[in-house]
């Protein structure tokens, strides 16, 4: 163990280094770029012994990583925002061919409007593509979750790729003091990449990903579904092993001061840190609130969530993506489905879009609204919690017809 000052992107790179990736395909995009740059440095100075492929797009980045992995090496790439959107087609190839790539996604809103900054809309657009999705609260979690993800994804019971999501700038460019495991411990924990089932080898030829008839397609999807079902068991198993090595407990989801809470807020990513801080502050003032942080969004931990939220009559869910056209955002929809049949009032909040900070004030306002609903003082909440009052006239152009 050694402490290092790392930002989120460097932590992701540190994890790739510890996992000894052998092929790296890289294409820069803000706020992921420093991952591509740091990997290039480490390959250039021999710290990482890998082939570094400067691809011409994210579409090619994931194509290179996917086929490289099929030849039997651990392959890496990373992306963000529109880059992930461009990858979309290949995202399905990776998961459908059961290629267990671990890919940091540095969350940034998708254009338009153009934004460089954090929201979860990019990763949420890929949520049904057969990848695992983990959302990190802090830089330490980026490192830990990425390392753990290799183990989970490459396990024969899972064999699926994963996105390790880190909030753009809030995590990717935020320096924190990180406890880094030793190379020897990770060599033992992760070990070399061993291809399973589908692989390309001239001494044992097979053709992968040819046309599949309706007679088999459903069953292949079902295999992916079953693999998703296996994730929690595999997660727990390796999280325990990781805890033995590092002393840190990585959880599928975390309940923070919920035991005696009057209401709780469910959230993803870096805002959970702020939310925990607000919980401490409000509890000091006598208001009993709690936070449920979801790390594993795909597969969604329905049972654990239902169990954790069972005691609560009023629940807030914060989506850092708009969920346009849906009754609520993706996290709210999942929570609502998980709570089906239970008599809970689940309120939906949208905010933190396109880099807008989710401040203590915002979270406190949410808790206050939830407490008011809980105590019967109010019926309503503010769904688009941090939206300005002039939203509908913003940049309005008057055109004479």
């Amino acid at each position: 163990m050694a402490y290092k000052m790392l930002d989120g992107n460097s932590a992701a790179v540190e994890a790739m280094k510890l996992a000894k990736v052998q092929v790296i395909s890289a294409y820069p995009i803000t706020p992921q770029s420093s991952i591509s740059e740091k990997l290039a440095d480490l390959v250039a100075d021999g710290t990482i012994k890998a082939e570094y492929i400067r691809v011409e797009s994210e579409h090619s980045a994931l194509s290179v990583a996917t086929t490289a992995c099929l030849v039997g090496v651990r392959a890496a790439t990373a992306t963000a925002s529109n880059g992930l959107a461009l990858m979309h087609e290949v995202v399905g190839m990776t998961s459908g061919n059961r290629v267990p790539i671990v890919m940091p996604v540095v969350n940034r809103g998708i254009a338009a409007p153009w934004t460089l900054w954090c929201e979860h809309g990019d990763a949420m657009s890929e949520r049904d593509m057969g990848w695992l999705q983990f959302y990190c609260q802090n830089v330490q979690e980026v490192l830990d979750m990425t390392l753990l993800a290799y183990k989970i994804c490459e396990d024969y019971r899972v064999q699926l790729p994963s996105m390790v999501c880190l909030d753009g700038f809030f995590l990717s460019h935020s320096m924190q003091k990180i406890d880094v495991p030793t190379q020897a411990s990770m060599d033992q924990f992760i070990g070399p990449y061993i291809p399973k089932n589908a692989f390309l080898d001239t001494s044992d030829p097979m053709f992968i990903c040819d046309l599949t008839s309706p007679d088999e397609y459903t069953e292949m999807r079902y295999q992916q579904k079953k693999a998703m079902d296996n994730v929690f068991e595999v997660f727990e198993e390796y999280a325990k092993a990781y805890e033995v090595i590092t002393g840190r407990k990585i959880q599928i989801m975390e309940s923070y001061k919920t035991e005696d809470a009057d209401t709780v807020l469910v959230a993803l990513g870096s805002m959970c840190g702020t939310a925990k801080h607000v919980v401490n502050k409000m509890r000091a003032e006598g208001r009993k609130v709690g936070v449920i942080k979801i790390v594993t969004f795909r597969p969604f931990p329905f049972e654990a969530i239902r169990e954790a939220l069972k005691p609560f009559k009023v629940i807030g869910v914060f989506d850092r993506s708009a969920g346009l056209g849906g009754q609520g955002g993706p996290l709210w929809s999942e929570i609502t489905a998980a709570m089906n049949g239970l008599n809970a009032d689940i309120r939906h909040f949208v905010g933190g879009l396109g880099g807008r900070d989710v401040t203590e004030t915002t979270i406190e306002k949410i808790f206050n609204e939830l407490l008011d609903i809980q105590s019967g003082k109010s019926l309503n909440h503010t769904q688009w919690i941090d939206t300005k009052e002039n939203a509908m006239t913003l940049r309005e152009v008057t055109v004479k017809c």
Partner: protein, 289 residues
């Protein structure tokens, strides 16, 4: 893993589901003959995907992957990178894609591979339209050819793939035709020997899309070269070589007259085409002097 049900001569099974008279099949069999079993192949969806197979069956005895339509070159790069990472420099990596998957949607990924000097052999079989989806025009469809998206004939000429490749300063690029298999195989062999990326652009007539009798595939391919509608040349380390006698060009009618896709051409169109073909040929042969 491969269970061979019927032993075939070579690396391609005997019965494949290509149309009768398919030009592409000849390219595939030639490529496999030359490159041998120490090869990995990338095939995009399209006519060549008939060789990827269907369900549990494949037509090829080498390892392969069917990628997306536009990433054949990138997928090939991934194979090369992984093989290199494993210290394997002997296994050859082949991307085998049609004109649509190459000159249209795949040109970006191809350009990336060529610029990076990744050691990948890229064979583009050119049947001059999206044949597998039902004969829609591609940017390799020649002027005046009728397709389902250019029913009155295409009004622009074709993209020049080999010149695009050469502009990346790659060690080897060539055009070839299935009418001259010896020349085609020689070029594929050369492409496999250079240290860096190589491209072989093969004219592969399609009876279904070009509307001619399937028995005439070789005749049509030969006529394309003899009339100058397809120019046979190669480019090696900065040097051009013409692989056809430039003085012997026949009138384009001997090529277009064989095919239903050019049936709607007027006399004026044919005159224009003849002039264009000659100008294009002269431009090339000028380069090769």
């Amino acid at each position: 893993m491969l269970e061979v049900k019927h032993q075939s001569k070579g690396l391609v099974s005997h019965g494949v589901s290509a149309c009768a008279g398919c030009g592409l099949e000849i390219v595939m069999r030639s490529a496999m003959r030359v490159l041998g079993e120490d090869t990995m192949i990338i095939i995009p969806p399209g006519c060549a995907a008939l060789f990827s197979g269907f369900g549990k069956e494949t037509a090829l005895k080498i390892p392969g992957f069917q990628g997306n339509l536009e990433n054949s070159a990138a997928c090939a790069s991934g194979l090369r990178a992984a093989l290199n990472a494993k210290g394997n420099t002997h296994t050859k990596v082949l991307a085998f894609a049609g004109d649509g998957a190459t000159v249209d949607i795949g040109i970006q990924a191809l350009s990336g591979v060529l610029e990076r000097r990744d050691k990948v052999i890229y064979i583009c079989y050119d049947n001059e339209a999206y044949m597998n989806t039902g004969i829609q025009s591609s940017s390799s469809t020649p002027q005046f050819a009728s397709t389902t998206t250019t029913p009155a004939g295409k009004n622009t000429g074709r993209k020049d793939l080999v010149q695009i490749a050469i502009s990346h300063d790659i060690p080897y690029a060539a055009t070839a035709s299935i009418y001259n298999i010896k020349d085609l195989e020689r070029k594929i062999e050369k492409a496999s020997e250079v240290d860096g990326p190589s491209l072989v652009h093969v004219h592969a007539p399609c009876p279904t899309g070009w509307r001619y009798d399937p028995s005439k595939t070789i005749q049509v391919a030969r006529a394309a070269v003899e009339t100058g509608c397809w120019i046979q040349y190669e480019y090696e380390n900065g040097k051009y070589t013409l692989n056809y006698n430039r003085k012997a060009l026949k009138p384009i009618e001997e090529y277009v007259g064989l095919q239903g896709r050019f049936k709607k051409m007027s006399a004026e169109d044919k005159k224009t085409m003849q002039e264009n073909v000659k100008a294009h040929f002269d431009k090339y042969t000028g380069k090769m002097i």
